[in-house]
Amino acid sequence: MSRKLGTTLKHMRRSPYQSIAAAVLTTITFFVVSVFALVVMGAHGMLTYFESRPQVTAFFKDSATAADVETLKTSVSALGTVESMNYISKDQALQIYKEQNKDNPLLLEMVTADILPASLEVSAKNATDLEPIATVMQKDTTVEEVVFQKDVVDTLTKWVNGVRIAGVVLSGLLLFASLVTIVVILGLKFTARRAEIKTLSLLGATSWYIRGPFVLEGIAYGLIGAGMGWGAAYVSLLYATPPLASFLQGIPLLPVPLWIMGALLGGELVLGILLGGFASMIATRRYGR
Protein backbone atom coordinates (compact mmCIF):
# COMPACT_ATOMS: atom_id res chain seq x y z
CA MET A 1 0.00 0.00 0.00
CA SER A 2 2.84 2.41 0.81
CA ARG A 3 4.32 1.81 -2.67
CA LYS A 4 0.93 2.50 -4.24
CA LEU A 5 0.64 5.72 -2.25
CA GLY A 6 4.15 6.66 -3.35
CA THR A 7 3.27 5.95 -6.98
CA THR A 8 0.06 7.96 -6.59
CA LEU A 9 1.95 11.00 -5.28
CA LYS A 10 4.49 10.62 -8.10
CA HIS A 11 1.66 10.58 -10.68
CA MET A 12 0.19 13.74 -9.13
CA ARG A 13 3.53 15.56 -9.03
CA ARG A 14 4.38 14.68 -12.63
CA SER A 15 1.32 16.45 -14.02
CA PRO A 16 0.71 19.19 -11.45
CA TYR A 17 -1.65 21.33 -13.53
CA GLN A 18 -4.02 18.45 -14.22
CA SER A 19 -3.90 17.48 -10.55
CA ILE A 20 -4.57 21.07 -9.43
CA ALA A 21 -7.48 21.36 -11.90
CA ALA A 22 -9.09 18.21 -10.49
CA ALA A 23 -8.53 19.33 -6.89
CA VAL A 24 -9.86 22.86 -7.51
CA LEU A 25 -13.03 21.65 -9.22
CA THR A 26 -13.77 19.10 -6.50
CA THR A 27 -13.07 21.80 -3.89
CA ILE A 28 -15.58 24.17 -5.53
CA THR A 29 -18.08 21.32 -5.76
CA PHE A 30 -17.79 20.42 -2.11
CA PHE A 31 -17.83 24.11 -1.09
CA VAL A 32 -21.19 24.48 -2.86
CA VAL A 33 -22.42 21.18 -1.36
CA SER A 34 -21.40 22.42 2.12
CA VAL A 35 -23.02 25.83 1.69
CA PHE A 36 -26.30 24.36 0.44
CA ALA A 37 -26.27 21.72 3.17
CA LEU A 38 -25.84 24.45 5.79
CA VAL A 39 -28.49 26.69 4.20
CA VAL A 40 -30.99 23.83 3.98
CA MET A 41 -30.25 22.74 7.56
CA GLY A 42 -30.59 26.36 8.72
CA ALA A 43 -33.84 26.86 6.85
CA HIS A 44 -35.16 23.59 8.22
CA GLY A 45 -34.18 24.70 11.73
CA MET A 46 -35.96 28.00 11.15
CA LEU A 47 -39.05 26.16 9.97
CA THR A 48 -39.00 23.93 13.04
CA TYR A 49 -38.57 27.02 15.19
CA PHE A 50 -41.59 28.72 13.70
CA GLU A 51 -43.65 25.54 13.82
CA SER A 52 -42.84 25.06 17.48
CA ARG A 53 -43.61 28.69 18.36
CA PRO A 54 -47.10 30.02 19.10
CA GLN A 55 -48.53 30.21 15.68
CA VAL A 56 -51.38 32.62 16.20
CA THR A 57 -50.88 35.77 18.18
CA ALA A 58 -53.65 38.14 19.10
CA PHE A 59 -52.63 41.67 20.06
CA PHE A 60 -55.13 43.33 22.38
CA LYS A 61 -56.33 46.88 22.21
CA ASP A 62 -55.14 49.11 25.06
CA SER A 63 -58.71 49.13 26.36
CA ALA A 64 -58.83 45.35 26.83
CA THR A 65 -59.27 44.26 30.42
CA ALA A 66 -58.21 41.09 32.20
CA ALA A 67 -61.78 39.86 31.89
CA ASP A 68 -61.65 40.37 28.13
CA VAL A 69 -58.49 38.31 27.99
CA GLU A 70 -60.08 35.53 30.00
CA THR A 71 -63.15 35.59 27.75
CA LEU A 72 -61.01 35.17 24.69
CA LYS A 73 -59.02 32.38 26.35
CA THR A 74 -62.27 30.56 27.13
CA SER A 75 -63.57 30.99 23.57
CA VAL A 76 -60.34 29.69 22.05
CA SER A 77 -60.05 26.78 24.51
CA ALA A 78 -63.60 25.76 23.68
CA LEU A 79 -62.41 24.77 20.21
CA GLY A 80 -60.48 21.86 21.80
CA THR A 81 -57.58 22.22 19.40
CA VAL A 82 -55.25 24.33 21.52
CA GLU A 83 -51.92 22.94 22.61
CA SER A 84 -50.97 25.83 24.84
CA MET A 85 -51.71 29.47 25.47
CA ASN A 86 -49.50 32.20 26.82
CA TYR A 87 -50.63 35.66 27.82
CA ILE A 88 -47.98 38.35 27.57
CA SER A 89 -48.72 41.56 29.41
CA LYS A 90 -47.44 44.96 28.36
CA ASP A 91 -44.67 44.77 30.99
CA GLN A 92 -43.61 41.31 29.83
CA ALA A 93 -43.63 42.55 26.24
CA LEU A 94 -41.25 45.34 27.25
CA GLN A 95 -38.93 42.86 28.96
CA ILE A 96 -38.86 40.71 25.84
CA TYR A 97 -38.21 43.76 23.69
CA LYS A 98 -35.36 44.85 25.97
CA GLU A 99 -33.81 41.37 25.89
CA GLN A 100 -33.99 41.20 22.10
CA ASN A 101 -32.41 44.62 21.66
CA LYS A 102 -29.99 44.68 24.57
CA ASP A 103 -27.08 45.32 22.21
CA ASN A 104 -28.76 48.28 20.59
CA PRO A 105 -29.41 51.02 23.18
CA LEU A 106 -30.85 53.36 20.57
CA LEU A 107 -33.82 51.03 20.08
CA LEU A 108 -34.44 50.95 23.85
CA GLU A 109 -34.71 54.69 24.24
CA MET A 110 -38.19 56.13 24.43
CA VAL A 111 -39.83 52.68 24.52
CA THR A 112 -42.11 52.06 27.45
CA ALA A 113 -44.60 49.34 28.34
CA ASP A 114 -47.47 51.62 27.34
CA ILE A 115 -46.66 51.59 23.65
CA LEU A 116 -46.35 47.80 23.47
CA PRO A 117 -49.58 45.79 23.21
CA ALA A 118 -50.46 42.86 25.44
CA SER A 119 -50.89 39.65 23.48
CA LEU A 120 -52.13 36.10 23.62
CA GLU A 121 -49.91 33.51 21.92
CA VAL A 122 -51.75 30.34 21.00
CA SER A 123 -50.10 27.15 19.83
CA ALA A 124 -52.34 24.65 18.05
CA LYS A 125 -52.12 20.86 18.11
CA ASN A 126 -52.04 20.72 14.31
CA ALA A 127 -51.29 23.25 11.62
CA THR A 128 -54.81 22.73 10.22
CA ASP A 129 -56.27 24.00 13.51
CA LEU A 130 -54.68 27.42 13.17
CA GLU A 131 -57.29 28.97 10.91
CA PRO A 132 -60.35 28.35 13.17
CA ILE A 133 -58.40 29.72 16.15
CA ALA A 134 -57.45 32.83 14.18
CA THR A 135 -61.07 33.31 13.07
CA VAL A 136 -62.32 33.25 16.67
CA MET A 137 -59.64 35.76 17.68
CA GLN A 138 -60.39 38.12 14.78
CA LYS A 139 -64.09 38.20 15.76
CA ASP A 140 -63.23 39.39 19.28
CA THR A 141 -63.75 43.16 19.50
CA THR A 142 -61.00 43.64 22.09
CA VAL A 143 -58.40 42.32 19.66
CA GLU A 144 -56.50 44.89 17.59
CA GLU A 145 -54.62 42.54 15.28
CA VAL A 146 -54.10 38.82 14.69
CA VAL A 147 -50.77 37.65 13.39
CA PHE A 148 -51.30 34.34 11.69
CA GLN A 149 -47.91 32.65 11.34
CA LYS A 150 -49.22 29.89 9.08
CA ASP A 151 -48.50 32.19 6.15
CA VAL A 152 -44.96 32.67 7.38
CA VAL A 153 -44.48 28.91 7.75
CA ASP A 154 -46.01 28.23 4.34
CA THR A 155 -43.76 30.78 2.68
CA LEU A 156 -40.75 29.45 4.53
CA THR A 157 -41.63 25.88 3.55
CA LYS A 158 -41.75 26.93 -0.09
CA TRP A 159 -38.38 28.64 0.27
CA VAL A 160 -36.84 25.62 1.99
CA ASN A 161 -38.13 23.31 -0.72
CA GLY A 162 -36.90 25.67 -3.40
CA VAL A 163 -33.45 25.99 -1.84
CA ARG A 164 -33.29 22.22 -1.35
CA ILE A 165 -34.15 21.54 -5.00
CA ALA A 166 -31.73 24.22 -6.23
CA GLY A 167 -29.03 22.80 -3.95
CA VAL A 168 -29.58 19.24 -5.11
CA VAL A 169 -29.60 20.27 -8.78
CA LEU A 170 -26.53 22.54 -8.55
CA SER A 171 -24.60 20.11 -6.34
CA GLY A 172 -25.57 17.26 -8.66
CA LEU A 173 -24.34 19.17 -11.72
CA LEU A 174 -21.07 20.09 -10.01
CA LEU A 175 -20.56 16.54 -8.75
CA PHE A 176 -21.13 15.29 -12.30
CA ALA A 177 -18.67 17.90 -13.65
CA SER A 178 -16.11 16.79 -11.04
CA LEU A 179 -16.69 13.16 -11.93
CA VAL A 180 -16.16 13.84 -15.64
CA THR A 181 -13.07 15.96 -14.93
CA ILE A 182 -11.45 13.26 -12.78
CA VAL A 183 -12.35 10.60 -15.37
CA VAL A 184 -10.79 12.67 -18.17
CA ILE A 185 -7.64 13.55 -16.21
CA LEU A 186 -7.06 10.02 -14.95
CA GLY A 187 -7.92 8.62 -18.37
CA LEU A 188 -5.25 10.86 -19.94
CA LYS A 189 -2.70 9.85 -17.32
CA PHE A 190 -3.58 6.18 -17.75
CA THR A 191 -3.24 6.44 -21.53
CA ALA A 192 0.05 8.37 -21.24
CA ARG A 193 1.50 5.52 -19.19
CA ARG A 194 0.21 2.69 -21.37
CA ALA A 195 3.73 1.51 -22.26
CA GLU A 196 4.63 1.23 -18.59
CA ILE A 197 1.30 -0.44 -17.86
CA LYS A 198 1.91 -2.96 -20.64
CA THR A 199 5.32 -3.75 -19.17
CA LEU A 200 3.83 -4.20 -15.71
CA SER A 201 1.20 -6.49 -17.17
CA LEU A 202 3.83 -8.60 -18.91
CA LEU A 203 5.75 -8.86 -15.63
CA GLY A 204 2.69 -10.45 -14.03
CA ALA A 205 1.22 -7.44 -12.24
CA THR A 206 -2.36 -7.92 -11.13
CA SER A 207 -5.16 -5.60 -12.22
CA TRP A 208 -5.25 -3.97 -8.77
CA TYR A 209 -1.48 -3.47 -8.78
CA ILE A 210 -1.78 -1.49 -12.01
CA ARG A 211 -5.05 0.31 -11.37
CA GLY A 212 -4.50 0.81 -7.64
CA PRO A 213 -2.41 4.01 -7.83
CA PHE A 214 -4.93 5.56 -10.25
CA VAL A 215 -7.85 4.62 -8.00
CA LEU A 216 -6.01 6.09 -5.01
CA GLU A 217 -5.32 9.25 -7.02
CA GLY A 218 -9.03 9.61 -7.78
CA ILE A 219 -9.87 9.09 -4.11
CA ALA A 220 -7.20 11.65 -3.18
CA TYR A 221 -8.89 14.27 -5.39
CA GLY A 222 -12.23 13.46 -3.75
CA LEU A 223 -10.77 13.72 -0.24
CA ILE A 224 -8.82 16.91 -0.98
CA GLY A 225 -11.92 18.51 -2.53
CA ALA A 226 -14.18 17.43 0.34
CA GLY A 227 -11.72 18.60 3.01
CA MET A 228 -10.91 21.95 1.40
CA GLY A 229 -14.48 22.65 0.28
CA TRP A 230 -15.77 21.95 3.77
CA GLY A 231 -12.97 24.03 5.29
CA ALA A 232 -13.73 26.99 3.03
CA ALA A 233 -17.44 26.76 3.87
CA TYR A 234 -16.69 26.54 7.60
CA VAL A 235 -14.38 29.57 7.53
CA SER A 236 -17.02 31.51 5.57
CA LEU A 237 -19.64 30.50 8.13
CA LEU A 238 -17.46 31.66 11.01
CA TYR A 239 -17.04 35.05 9.35
CA ALA A 240 -20.75 35.29 8.59
CA THR A 241 -21.95 34.19 12.03
CA PRO A 242 -22.03 37.64 13.77
CA PRO A 243 -24.13 39.43 11.11
CA LEU A 244 -26.32 36.36 10.60
CA ALA A 245 -26.93 35.97 14.33
CA SER A 246 -27.97 39.62 14.47
CA PHE A 247 -30.30 39.13 11.50
CA LEU A 248 -31.84 35.96 12.95
CA GLN A 249 -32.24 37.43 16.42
CA GLY A 250 -34.18 35.14 18.68
CA ILE A 251 -33.93 32.14 16.36
CA PRO A 252 -31.36 29.80 17.89
CA LEU A 253 -29.57 28.59 14.73
CA LEU A 254 -26.09 29.97 15.33
CA PRO A 255 -23.41 29.06 16.08
CA VAL A 256 -23.77 25.77 14.19
CA PRO A 257 -22.97 22.94 16.63
CA LEU A 258 -19.59 21.29 16.05
CA TRP A 259 -21.15 17.85 15.79
CA ILE A 260 -23.16 19.02 12.79
CA MET A 261 -20.01 20.36 11.10
CA GLY A 262 -18.24 17.08 11.96
CA ALA A 263 -21.08 15.02 10.51
CA LEU A 264 -21.06 17.20 7.38
CA LEU A 265 -17.31 16.71 7.00
CA GLY A 266 -17.66 12.95 7.51
CA GLY A 267 -20.44 12.74 4.94
CA GLU A 268 -18.50 14.79 2.41
CA LEU A 269 -15.33 12.71 2.91
CA VAL A 270 -17.35 9.56 2.22
CA LEU A 271 -18.92 11.24 -0.83
CA GLY A 272 -15.44 12.32 -1.94
CA ILE A 273 -14.11 8.77 -1.67
CA LEU A 274 -17.09 7.44 -3.64
CA LEU A 275 -16.76 10.18 -6.27
CA GLY A 276 -13.01 9.75 -6.76
CA GLY A 277 -13.11 5.99 -6.54
CA PHE A 278 -15.98 5.70 -9.04
CA ALA A 279 -14.33 8.16 -11.44
CA SER A 280 -11.02 6.29 -11.36
CA MET A 281 -12.75 2.96 -11.88
CA ILE A 282 -14.39 4.40 -15.00
CA ALA A 283 -11.10 5.92 -16.19
CA THR A 284 -9.23 2.62 -15.87
CA ARG A 285 -12.08 0.30 -16.85
CA ARG A 286 -10.55 -0.41 -20.24
CA TYR A 287 -7.69 -2.20 -18.51
CA GLY A 288 -10.12 -4.16 -16.38
CA ARG A 289 -11.78 -5.63 -19.43
Binding site: G204, T206, Y209
Partner: protein
Protein backbone atom coordinates in the same frame (compact mmCIF):
# COMPACT_ATOMS: atom_id res chain seq x y z
CA UNK B 1 5.31 -33.63 -18.49
CA UNK B 2 6.27 -31.12 -21.18
CA UNK B 3 6.82 -27.50 -20.13
CA UNK B 4 5.18 -26.03 -23.24
CA UNK B 5 2.68 -27.78 -25.49
CA UNK B 6 1.07 -26.23 -28.58
CA UNK B 7 -1.56 -28.45 -30.20
CA UNK B 8 -2.97 -27.33 -33.57
CA UNK B 9 -2.90 -23.70 -32.50
CA UNK B 10 -4.31 -21.20 -34.99
CA UNK B 11 -4.78 -17.48 -34.55
CA UNK B 12 -6.72 -15.58 -37.19
CA UNK B 13 -7.57 -11.90 -36.85
CA UNK B 14 -10.77 -10.30 -38.03
CA UNK B 15 -9.07 -8.79 -41.08
CA UNK B 16 -8.03 -12.25 -42.26
CA UNK B 17 -4.40 -12.09 -41.10
CA UNK B 18 -3.19 -15.48 -39.90
CA UNK B 19 -0.67 -15.04 -37.08
CA UNK B 20 -0.37 -18.76 -36.26
CA UNK B 21 -1.44 -21.54 -38.56
CA UNK B 22 -2.07 -24.98 -37.05
CA UNK B 23 1.07 -24.90 -34.92
CA UNK B 24 1.97 -27.97 -32.86
CA UNK B 25 5.12 -28.54 -30.82
CA UNK B 26 6.24 -29.43 -27.33
CA UNK B 27 9.19 -28.17 -25.30
CA UNK B 28 10.57 -30.18 -22.41
CA UNK B 29 11.70 -28.67 -19.10
CA UNK B 30 15.26 -27.34 -19.26
CA UNK B 31 15.43 -27.16 -23.06
CA UNK B 32 17.00 -24.25 -24.96
CA UNK B 33 14.98 -23.75 -28.12
CA UNK B 34 15.49 -21.28 -30.93
CA UNK B 35 12.31 -19.91 -32.53
CA UNK B 36 13.48 -18.77 -35.92
CA UNK B 37 11.93 -17.12 -38.90
CA UNK B 38 11.79 -13.90 -40.85
CA UNK B 39 9.93 -10.87 -39.63
CA UNK B 40 6.20 -11.66 -39.52
CA UNK B 41 6.81 -15.43 -39.46
CA UNK B 42 4.95 -15.84 -36.15
CA UNK B 43 7.76 -15.85 -33.56
CA UNK B 44 6.30 -13.07 -31.43
CA UNK B 45 2.82 -14.53 -31.81
CA UNK B 46 4.11 -17.74 -30.17
CA UNK B 47 5.30 -15.69 -27.21
CA UNK B 48 2.08 -13.65 -27.03
CA UNK B 49 0.02 -16.83 -27.13
CA UNK B 50 2.13 -18.33 -24.33
CA UNK B 51 1.50 -15.40 -21.98
CA UNK B 52 -2.14 -15.28 -23.09
CA UNK B 53 -1.82 -11.83 -24.57
CA UNK B 54 -4.44 -13.18 -26.97
CA UNK B 55 -6.64 -16.24 -27.12
CA UNK B 56 -6.09 -18.59 -30.09
CA UNK B 57 -8.89 -18.99 -32.60
CA UNK B 58 -8.50 -22.77 -32.23
CA UNK B 59 -6.14 -25.29 -30.69
CA UNK B 60 -4.81 -25.90 -27.20
CA UNK B 61 -1.84 -24.38 -25.38
CA UNK B 62 -0.53 -25.87 -22.15
CA UNK B 63 2.13 -24.22 -20.02
CA UNK B 64 3.55 -26.28 -17.15
CA UNK B 65 0.40 -28.41 -17.22
CA UNK B 66 -2.01 -25.44 -17.29
CA UNK B 67 -4.48 -25.32 -20.18
CA UNK B 68 -4.59 -21.65 -21.10
CA UNK B 69 -8.09 -21.96 -22.57
CA UNK B 70 -9.50 -22.69 -19.13
CA UNK B 71 -7.33 -20.13 -17.33
CA UNK B 72 -9.39 -17.45 -15.59
CA UNK B 73 -8.53 -13.83 -16.30
CA UNK B 74 -7.53 -13.21 -12.71
CA UNK B 75 -4.96 -16.03 -12.95
CA UNK B 76 -3.18 -14.58 -16.00
CA UNK B 77 -0.71 -12.59 -13.82
CA UNK B 78 0.27 -15.86 -12.10
CA UNK B 79 0.87 -17.48 -15.52
CA UNK B 80 3.02 -14.53 -16.58
CA UNK B 81 5.19 -14.92 -13.50
CA UNK B 82 6.05 -18.40 -14.77
CA UNK B 83 7.23 -16.91 -18.07
CA UNK B 84 9.93 -14.25 -18.11
CA UNK B 85 9.81 -12.20 -21.30
CA UNK B 86 12.69 -10.22 -22.82
CA UNK B 87 12.14 -7.88 -25.76
CA UNK B 88 14.31 -6.55 -28.53
CA UNK B 89 13.55 -2.98 -27.37
CA UNK B 90 14.10 -3.91 -23.70
CA UNK B 91 10.90 -2.17 -22.49
CA UNK B 92 12.72 -0.67 -19.52
CA UNK B 93 11.18 2.21 -17.60
CA UNK B 94 13.53 5.01 -18.58
CA UNK B 95 12.75 7.20 -15.57
CA UNK B 96 13.87 4.51 -13.14
CA UNK B 97 17.29 3.25 -12.24
CA UNK B 98 18.57 -0.25 -12.92
CA UNK B 99 17.76 -1.24 -9.35
CA UNK B 100 14.26 0.28 -9.56
CA UNK B 101 13.53 -1.51 -12.83
CA UNK B 102 14.40 -4.83 -11.22
CA UNK B 103 12.65 -3.90 -7.98
CA UNK B 104 9.47 -3.29 -9.95
CA UNK B 105 9.27 -6.96 -10.85
CA UNK B 106 10.10 -7.96 -7.28
CA UNK B 107 7.51 -5.56 -5.88
CA UNK B 108 4.84 -7.13 -8.09
CA UNK B 109 5.59 -10.41 -6.31
CA UNK B 110 5.03 -8.66 -2.98
CA UNK B 111 8.41 -9.65 -1.57
CA UNK B 112 9.59 -8.23 1.75
CA UNK B 113 12.23 -5.48 1.38
CA UNK B 114 15.06 -7.61 2.73
CA UNK B 115 14.25 -10.59 0.48
CA UNK B 116 13.80 -8.28 -2.51
CA UNK B 117 17.19 -6.61 -2.01
CA UNK B 118 18.88 -10.02 -1.67
CA UNK B 119 17.18 -11.26 -4.83
CA UNK B 120 18.03 -8.07 -6.72
CA UNK B 121 21.70 -8.41 -5.82
CA UNK B 122 21.67 -12.03 -7.02
CA UNK B 123 20.17 -10.92 -10.34
CA UNK B 124 22.67 -8.09 -10.74
CA UNK B 125 25.47 -10.57 -10.05
CA UNK B 126 24.05 -13.11 -12.51
CA UNK B 127 23.69 -10.58 -15.29
CA UNK B 128 26.99 -8.84 -14.64
CA UNK B 129 25.42 -5.55 -13.64
CA UNK B 130 26.84 -5.18 -10.14
CA UNK B 131 27.86 -1.56 -9.61
CA UNK B 132 25.28 -0.26 -12.12
CA UNK B 133 22.36 -0.23 -9.67
CA UNK B 134 22.02 3.54 -9.59
CA UNK B 135 22.42 4.13 -13.32
CA UNK B 136 19.47 5.10 -15.45
CA UNK B 137 18.86 3.17 -18.71
CA UNK B 138 20.10 6.11 -20.82
CA UNK B 139 23.48 5.76 -19.11
CA UNK B 140 23.78 2.12 -20.20
CA UNK B 141 24.91 0.48 -23.41
CA UNK B 142 22.46 -1.62 -25.43
CA UNK B 143 23.92 -4.83 -24.05
CA UNK B 144 23.65 -3.57 -20.49
CA UNK B 145 20.04 -2.52 -21.04
CA UNK B 146 19.27 -5.99 -22.34
CA UNK B 147 20.91 -7.47 -19.26
CA UNK B 148 18.68 -5.32 -17.06
CA UNK B 149 15.68 -6.59 -19.02
CA UNK B 150 16.86 -10.17 -18.50
CA UNK B 151 17.44 -9.56 -14.79
CA UNK B 152 13.96 -8.11 -14.51
CA UNK B 153 12.44 -11.03 -16.42
CA UNK B 154 14.19 -13.47 -14.09
CA UNK B 155 13.01 -11.72 -10.91
CA UNK B 156 10.02 -13.98 -10.32
CA UNK B 157 12.24 -17.05 -10.90
CA UNK B 158 10.23 -18.10 -13.96
CA UNK B 159 10.25 -21.64 -15.24
CA UNK B 160 10.40 -20.33 -18.81
CA UNK B 161 12.34 -17.43 -20.29
CA UNK B 162 11.19 -16.21 -23.70
CA UNK B 163 13.65 -13.82 -25.31
CA UNK B 164 12.08 -12.15 -28.34
CA UNK B 165 14.91 -11.05 -30.65
CA UNK B 166 17.06 -10.11 -27.64
CA UNK B 167 20.09 -9.42 -29.82
CA UNK B 168 18.30 -7.50 -32.54
CA UNK B 169 19.64 -4.11 -31.43
CA UNK B 170 23.10 -5.26 -30.36
CA UNK B 171 26.48 -5.58 -32.05
CA UNK B 172 27.89 -9.04 -32.66
CA UNK B 173 30.13 -9.22 -29.61
CA UNK B 174 27.48 -7.93 -27.23
CA UNK B 175 24.86 -10.19 -28.83
CA UNK B 176 27.11 -13.19 -28.22
CA UNK B 177 27.52 -12.26 -24.56
CA UNK B 178 23.73 -12.10 -24.20
CA UNK B 179 23.37 -15.55 -25.76
CA UNK B 180 26.01 -16.84 -23.37
CA UNK B 181 24.05 -15.32 -20.50
CA UNK B 182 20.88 -17.04 -21.72
CA UNK B 183 22.89 -20.27 -21.91
CA UNK B 184 24.00 -19.81 -18.29
CA UNK B 185 20.40 -19.22 -17.23
CA UNK B 186 19.34 -22.34 -19.13
CA UNK B 187 22.09 -24.39 -17.47
CA UNK B 188 20.52 -23.49 -14.11
CA UNK B 189 17.32 -25.28 -15.16
CA UNK B 190 15.24 -22.53 -16.79
CA UNK B 191 13.59 -23.47 -20.08
CA UNK B 192 14.71 -20.88 -22.61
CA UNK B 193 13.07 -19.95 -25.90
CA UNK B 194 14.88 -17.40 -28.01
CA UNK B 195 13.27 -15.89 -31.07
CA UNK B 196 15.75 -14.76 -33.70
CA UNK B 197 16.21 -14.39 -37.40
CA UNK B 198 20.01 -14.24 -37.08
CA UNK B 199 21.22 -17.84 -37.25
CA UNK B 200 24.86 -16.75 -37.43
CA UNK B 201 24.79 -16.17 -33.69
CA UNK B 202 23.87 -19.75 -32.91
CA UNK B 203 25.62 -21.60 -35.69
CA UNK B 204 28.14 -23.12 -33.28
CA UNK B 205 25.52 -24.20 -30.77
CA UNK B 206 23.66 -27.47 -30.93
CA UNK B 207 20.22 -26.13 -30.20
CA UNK B 208 16.77 -27.24 -31.20
CA UNK B 209 15.24 -24.90 -33.76
CA UNK B 210 11.57 -24.28 -34.49
CA UNK B 211 11.42 -22.75 -37.94
CA UNK B 212 8.40 -20.56 -38.64
CA UNK B 213 7.14 -19.14 -41.91
CA UNK B 214 3.89 -17.22 -42.45
CA UNK B 215 2.58 -18.33 -39.07
CA UNK B 216 3.21 -22.01 -39.65
CA UNK B 217 5.83 -24.23 -38.03
CA UNK B 218 7.59 -25.52 -41.12
CA UNK B 219 10.39 -27.42 -39.46
CA UNK B 220 11.29 -28.64 -36.00
CA UNK B 221 15.04 -29.28 -36.03
CA UNK B 222 15.55 -31.26 -32.83
CA UNK B 223 18.75 -31.50 -30.86
CA UNK B 224 19.28 -35.07 -31.93
CA UNK B 225 18.41 -34.29 -35.54
CA UNK B 226 20.85 -31.38 -35.44
CA UNK B 227 23.62 -33.81 -34.42
CA UNK B 228 22.79 -36.09 -37.31
CA UNK B 229 22.80 -33.24 -39.79
Amino acid sequence: MSMIVFTNVTKKYGNGTVALNDVSFAVEPGEFVIVEGASGAGKTSVMRAMIRDFTPSSGVIEIDGINLATLKSRDIPLLRRKIGVVFQDFKLLMDRTVAENIDLALDILGLEDETAIKRRNELLELTGLSGKESDFPVQLSGGEMQRVAIARALAPQPKILFADEPTGNLDGHTAMSIIELLGDINSQGTTVLMATHDLELIKNRKLRRLQFDKGALVKDVGKKEHHES
